[in-house]
């Protein structure tokens, strides 16, 4: 009664991988347990909390609602791929530390990926827009006050000219 495996090609954070997965294997489990990228967290496994959000071809998607086998050929960015090119904290990650935008940190990876994608399209959000941008992710610790502030701070870091003194404030690593 063993399951057939399907060869699947994924480019994750710019690195190509080939995995052999059962058809039912979730993308979240594949990333975490097959590729060892445990930064992507699973909070509900029914698509509500957003902790497992990754970027699929640049768009935020819930990896707990996707089958890995369906992602064949996709380019995926996880929280580990949202670092700066130099390997330090990326702008959204830095903003979370600057603004105390996290407490336990379990939901944070889903916010980081979501906000990274959002700011790519909306570089100068208002506070209200920042609040809406994170409106699909659950956090049980922060009351969201400092996550809203983190969105605004990340936008500020991203707008700063390169090398203006912010620690490793380069562009996030995205798919090549």
């Amino acid at each position: 009664m063993s399951e057939p495996l399907h060869e699947t090609h994924l480019v994750v954070n710019g690195v190509p991988h080939t995995v052999a997965v059962p058809a039912r294997r979730l993308l979240s489990d594949c990333l975490r347990h097959d590729l060892g990228l445990t930064g992507t967290h699973v909070g509900c496994e029914h698509g509500v909390c957003g902790a497992c959000t990754v970027l699929v071809d640049g768009r935020p998607m819930r990896s707990c609602l996707l089958f890995a086998v369906g992602m064949d050929g996709a380019e995926i960015t996880t929280v580990e791929g949202c670092r700066s090119a130099g390997g330090g904290l990326g702008p959204v990650q830095q903003a979370f530390q600057d603004c105390h935008g996290l407490q336990c940190g379990f939901c944070t990876p889903g916010f980081v990926t979501t906000i990274t994608a959002y700011l790519g399209e909306h570089p100068d959000p208002t506070e209200e827009q920042a609040r809406q941008a994170i409106g699909g992710n659950l956090c049980r610790c922060t009351g969201y006050q400092n996550i809203v502030a983190s969105v605004l701070r990340a936008a500020e870091i991203l707008r700063e000219p390169e090398g203006s003194g912010e620690p490793q404030g380069g562009a996030p690593v995205s798919s090549p």
């Binding site: 009664m1 060892g36 904290l89 940190g105 379990f106 659950l138 049980r140 006050q145």
Partner: protein, 795 residues
Amino acid sequence: MTTRTMGEPIARREDPRLVAGDGRYLDDLGGGALAAAFVRSPHAAARVLDVDVSRALEVDGLVAVYTYEDLEGPMAEPLPLLIPHPRLHAGRTAYPLANGVVRHVGEPVAMVVARDRYLAEDACERIAVAYEPLAPVVGLDAAVAAERVVHDDVPDNVAARMVQEHGDARAAVAAAPHRLELDLTIERSASTPLEGRGVYARWDAADRSLRVYSSTQTSTSVRFALAVKLEVPVDRVEVVAPDVGGGFGVKIMHPWPEEVLVPWAAIRLGREVKWTEDRREHFIASAHERGQRHHVSVGFDDDGRLLGLDVEFLHDNGAYTPYGIIVPIITATQLLGPYKPGAYRAEFRSLYTNTVIVTPYRGAGRPQAAFAMERTMDAIAAYLGRDRAEVRETNFIQPSEMPYDHHLTFQDGRPLVYDSGDYPATLDKVKKLVGWDEFGTFREQARAAGRRVGIGLACYVEGTGVGPYEGAHVRVETNGTVVVATGLTTQGQGHETAFAQVAAEALGVPVERVTVVTGDTRRFKYAVGTFASRAAVMSGNAVALAAGKVRAKALRIAAEALEADPADLELADGTVRVKGAPERELALETVAVLANPLRYAFDEQARLATQFVVGRGVEDPPVAEDDEPGLEATDWYSPVRSTFANGAHAVVVETDPETAEVRILRYCVVHDCGRLINPRIVEGQVHGGVAQGVGGALYERMVYDENGQLLNASFMDFLMPYASEVPKVETDHLETPSPLNPLGIKGAGEAGTIPGAAVLAAAISDAEGFFLDTMPISPSELWALREHHARKDDR
């Protein structure tokens, strides 16, 4: 001069790894471990007639299936009753796996271990359990009626009954010029951290030792519990709480059935085993809180001054009572808040129902208490036609009356004595912050525009920092690094930062040099745990005391080396100096080297400390009789009793005239948790607490049907607030130091949650013109109440 670190809003030290995806939460560990999954009861009450595992055996990758029949010795006995209390006359706990009977949906019946979780769940689906369903007891009415019982040997479903009284409250109420009776209800809710529970166990057969990782709020106590249950010498058991994705109370409960079964299976199989809870499991098989119904009889004078307060309440404790009756005891004692009640009597009954167990959730009985007390204050004000703030002021304990003895017994078995606090100033601040006195104008403007607005106010006092103790170990390494270890655990409170600040300040080193370890029994074996807003108070003070000892030792060693009087030395920025003679100084790392006379030179630092380099006189032992090698110390903090933080919330709401939707326009918080270690972290705790308070007031509830099925056991149906539901939180604070501990701090973790239901009920009542007595409230319920009151007015 050392840069001050206590009281500074420095950025958190733990953040870089957490924001980068490098955190190590339970399920991030044990990549090669076998996976456990559980067959759970679909019935709220049933006899288990048969468990047929035969079809599961065909599943590829299956390793083991266990039922109650496989358990032996202590594992076959009920789980411990963690907090026994004389008034808990009929305490009952569950077996790790059901022993012939299940008493709530979600109770584990069988455990499967397989190559991965998918296969383990395949096997679970193939296990056929024959049940004889019984009619369940659901809700307080059914529990009180006791037509059916949860435990055959508890015929009235009453687990505990307790009375606390000071003065003759009933007589005082009867004799008072004015009397009111109120029925006030709070429904069930739960902590629901984003990360559920999880356990990962590694048995080393050669070493005969067990290492268990658990997403727990108390690794030290899990360790002792496992040693007992598994019959492994405690010296061979280590428990580690890795990064934990939120707790809010639910993870202080232990040992869970899964928490003993997973290590038990790991030992039996000689393999690593891991269980990661899924969201549905968390809803139906962890713990809830809050379900209480209160009847208040209050007597007062023309000014609204309390003369007698008599409160009887019912507490729904679910199917078992492993955590005792802590929650209703806290309600009974913390209900008084900042007020002098005149004579006071509180009586509760704690009742069994066929639902998930009840253990503390952030606030732990206090949100119910604040709801009962603050609604009573509002009712008195309405009855007398007086300002709600004035009635509260009339009843406040004054700063000059501190310490204030309520003549009751608190949850720690010690006298309920408030240590400090300025309640009038707290109220004054929140009135100013929200614009209490100017609200009438806003209300008129809003009314003219066809809008309905209301304002509410709620005060609370929170006993924080309960004992018995916490300890800390502080060591200066020979590279100058300072390593702090404390036994309590961390679930996002920023302990790596706050305790580093405490140690840096007490020792006289830059905070960057300090690293902090929590919740790892390999590093610190004696601790109680993280709950009751106690971590900063308990471990904060223990760290300060231990660091103070290290500082004293460093000064003594340096004094010998510098041939100076220790009293003439100062330690700052990691360097010991002779005051007024800055050229005579010694780096702390050098002092650490000198503290440990060595035989072997394994690096350049060690070379400086070998016996031919350092040492006392040849007639003296290299380590004095009353001394120890190393620049390190352990110390403990054990308070005589709790310290009491306080605060006041005020909110402005708008209710939609058509849809009855509630919108929070302003949410103002004034809090006083004594001296702050890191204001940014405290502020974050307040924000998060408020969000949970708002959730508990407007959105979150556990919906059980009459069959004991939890109808909303998912994040789709249990409505936790998103960013769109949490208002901007405006804060101000006071700092009234606690006289009870060296740092003068009080706990801050739960405060933000406590007055949520009370303050929102007050504001909505104010907007609507009728009195809310049950929370949470949904728009449809508010709409129905409007209809009800409109009909009443028509009559």
